[in-house]
């Protein structure tokens, strides 16, 4: 962005809104919004505590497990759907349904089935993340040019070789885009799951903080979460840029 001929770094807008937050907070307009500075101080205070670290550990573990399962199942399934009309017809209606469904409403069902433990949280993460990963992998594998699939066949590739040496790579730009969206949805999944279960992880902390009106604590927690979500998104964005050179050259 340029203003009056000067290049304005992207971080400036972040800084601007941080200032607004600080001013509104200092004005003590509402108890719900403490100043940014005291939130940050609080963050430094609670971050090293065992409660916080345990919550972070549980959340991270459930998140990574859920995301891992979503990728390991979602990517191959999406690719196979893109290559086989039969499997596509069988599964696509469900994927399309779930990708746009209000999934939060389903979490209580998972809770009933799997209890108030980590399994429920992991499954919630999968529930939120997997559909978009499947859909994007499918789109990627449908877009593979016919000559590339014919090349695989005419040079004698087995199904497995075609999958691992060609389809997976040819669909990689779409697969990564799907994973990127999936990662963000998974953050929602892990937090919503924990909020509803509310006896473990960050959900437990949110429950304590909000019921005791500990707003600084709560905002500190949110900052941590937003930061991680942003970091994941930016990391995936960087990965996508690295394979840009061939995503344009494929077709």
């Amino acid at each position: 962005m340029q203003i009056l001929g000067y290049r304005i770094p992207n971080a400036v807008s972040l800084l601007l809104w941080a200032t607004v937050w600080e001013i509104v907070g200092q004005a003590r307009i509402t108890i719900l919004l403490p100043p940014l500075s005291s939130t940050l101080v609080r963050l430094l205070e609670i971050a090293p505590t065992e409660t916080f670290m345990t919550a972070l550990g549980i959340t991270a573990q459930a998140y990574l497990l859920g995301v891992g399962i979503s990728i390991l199942i979602g990517v191959p399934l999406g690719i196979v759907m893109g290559r086989s009309a039969l499997i596509d017809r069988l599964i696509l209606p469900w994927v399309s349904l779930f990708v746009s469904a209000p999934l939060t409403a389903l979490v209580p069902v998972i809770m009933v089935l799997f209890g108030f433990g980590e399994t429920t949280i992991v499954l919630t993460v999968v529930l939120f993340a997997i559909w978009i990963i499947i859909l994007d992998a499918r789109a990627g594998s449908r877009g593979i040019s016919q000559s590339l699939t014919e090349m695989a066949r005419s040079y004698g590739a087995t199904r497995w070789q075609a999958f691992t040496k060609i389809y997976l790579w040819a669909a990689l730009p779409e697969i990564l885009a799907g994973i990127r969206l999936g990662l963000v949805r998974a953050v929602k999944g892990v937090i919503i799951g924990q909020l509803l279960v509310s006896v473990i992880g960050f959900g437990y902390l949110f429950e304590i903080y909000s019921s005791n009106f500990l707003m600084e604590h709560m905002w500190a927690l949110l900052l941590v979460l937003f930061f991680f979500a942003y970091l994941l998104d930016a990391g995936m964005g960087e990965l996508e840029r690295r394979i840009d050179y061939y995503s344009a050259a494929r077709h």
Binding site: S147, R153, S154, Y155, G156, K165, Y246, A249
Partner: protein
């Protein structure tokens, strides 16, 4: 085998040298569109035979049937006297749009056919090096397809087909995406390859000049439904320089004769 016996009865002269025989091949696409009708054709070993015809005459379809990528509605294809049932290691395909792996460098692309066959890395890269040298891409081994010119990309496609050491090379309009100047150079290089490699080349093109310049034999296909309409053997001295050939009466007459026979189909 009975197959062989019939062959000898039908075409006693061509049999000995026929690397590929197409027998009564027909192809119908849903529509229904009769793409090919009862095509009989022999491709002589060590020669370059061109399938030439107007667009929609089924020449690419015929090439893909020989490749085993498309199953014909009826008829059979024999390669080295064995019926074709899908792709096989004795045939290699060169694609119109190159079909390279964009994420793999030149040497991996050239060696890819061998990689699929499980040839160890060192061995297959040695073979790839040899063909990279043969098609004039030394120094580009570690480059990626998007870093190469269009013409160079097709050289990679050609080297990949050569590297699997197939007896029969199937080329589907390989030069159609390449600009005129590069194409001429490429055509000359291909002639040199045909002479040197002693393999059977089946070449598809819609360019009359290209067909006459390159071919030992041209099968002229008629428009839909495609069938073999004429077999033409350009008679000109291959010992002349490329520029001389392009001005030679034999060359020019053949181009003209083909154009006269095709003219009626082009409105």
């Amino acid at each position: 085998m009975t197959m062989q016996a019939t062959t000898q009865n039908e075409t006693p002269t061509a049999t000995a040298a026929a690397a590929v025989s197409v027998r009564g091949v027909s192809m119908v696409y849903p529509g229904p569109v009769q793409a090919l009708q009862d095509v009989d054709l022999e491709f002589q070993a060590g020669k370059l035979t061109t399938l030439l015809g107007p667009s929609g005459c089924g020449k690419t379809t015929l090439l893909k049937i020989i490749a085993g990528l498309i199953r014909p509605a009826s008829g059979t294809v024999l390669v080295n006297s064995r019926p074709v049932d899908g792709p096989g290691p004795e045939r290699a395909f060169v694609f119109q749009d190159f079909a390279l792996l964009p994420w793999a460098n030149v040497i991996r692309n050239v060696a890819f056919g061998l990689e699929l066959r499980g040839v160890p890395t060192a061995e297959r890269e040695a073979v790839a090096e040899q063909y990279i040298a043969e098609i004039g891409l030394v120094g580009f081994e570690r480059k990626y397809p998007h870093e190469l010119s269009i013409g160079m990309r097709q050289r990679v496609g050609l080297a990949r087909a050569l590297a699997v050491k197939a007896d029969v090379l199937l080329l589907d309009e390989p030069f159609s995406a390449i600009d005129e100047q590069t194409r001429r150079k490429f055509q000359e290089d291909l002639l040199r390859l045909v002479a040197m490699e002693r393999r059977t080349f089946v070449f598809v093109t819609h360019s009359i000049e290209e067909a006459v310049y390159l071919s030992d034999r041209i099968a002229l296909l008629s428009p839909r439904p495609g069938r073999v309409w004429k077999i033409i053997e350009p008679r000109m001295s291959r010992t002349l320089s490329p520029d001389q050939i392009r001005r030679e009466p034999g060359y020019l007459d053949t181009v003209e004769a083909i154009w006269q026979s095709l003219k009626d189909y082009v409105e």
